[in-house]
Subunit: 203 residues, 2 copies
Amino acid sequence: MSRWAPNARERLETAALDLFVENGYEETTVAQIADRAGMNRATFFRHFADKREVLFGGEDVLAGLFADAVRAAPPGATLTECLQAALAAAGGAMTPQLRAAAVRRIAVVAANSELQERGLLKHARVTTSVTGALRERGTDELTARLGAEMCTLAFSVAFERWMKADDGAPFAPFADAALTDLQARAAELVLPSAYSGQTPSSA
Amino acid sequence: MSRWAPNARERLETAALDLFVENGYEETTVAQIADRAGMNRATFFRHFADKREVLFGGEDVLAGLFADAVRAAPPGATLTECLQAALAAAGGAMTPQLRAAAVRRIAVVAANSELQERGLLKHARVTTSVTGALRERGTDELTARLGAEMCTLAFSVAFERWMKADDGAPFAPFADAALTDLQARAAELVLPSAYSGQTPSSA
């Protein structure tokens, strides 16, 4: 029951997911989650603002990984290189354990519109985090916003494909492929005048 | 008190916004909104699923306008032409009345995280709606998702700029400029190989 329990966040997340799958999200109380994790209710609320948050700790981690990687990219890095760095940093967090938990989490979230809303809020915060990190590098506002949308879209596409892949597949190749695939599509959106007058070939 | 009151949705939206500004969102009940609009609570719930929804009818309209315009674009229209058509269709709905209500709505939403979440959900649904309309035209999935993100981002940028402009300014030039500005930035995201081997000039 100590507030200094090691891995308290992870234990609460696992306990919550277990209970949501067993009994349903609505039916599970914060007290039950804390109890299953061997903690008390107050400890839960030191780590998570409400019951919904316990499912979205991963998005907070992702927002931090993306932003740190963008900030750490070399001063002369292009926008694309910044996004590659962000996605590469995320790759390290995409473990087989996370993948197994994600399968269960997706089912819980899909069944509850409140959880879908929280998920969208978290997704938006990840995008905002990347936008902010790009702005700190001196990227202009519109480029930063577009680049951040591209980053989170590439991550989403990579994640969806990775979830369908075999157990144990590393995430990095999926991230690389998703970004490259989206970059190929972006050609259809570019102004021809941005290319020294040459019309893009159809992509 | 008739369920067939003319403009019932609009009257409920106006009454709700008035009360939210006067007394706060949390403090206002659905019964009070209905009463102010000269209707009853049951009529409110025929038009809106919950209290939050009354603030986001505009996003539902927008999702429909975007999708209809994309579907109605000529068969040979490029992705960019589809997005231009979508934004042009939205322009018709961006009246001075809407702008005046938006100023008040933005203040109400900014003060409440539940409302921000609902706003993000609606924003995501607009994007999904455009994605779906592009898919119906035969656009491949990734191009459709990227194009839809570009469409809603262009709309957001145009909307922010329009809100800062003088009263009575038409929306259409802001939409055109936002899309063009974003297209110029997209050049930084394109794979050089998509351009017959020519490296993009720096944008």
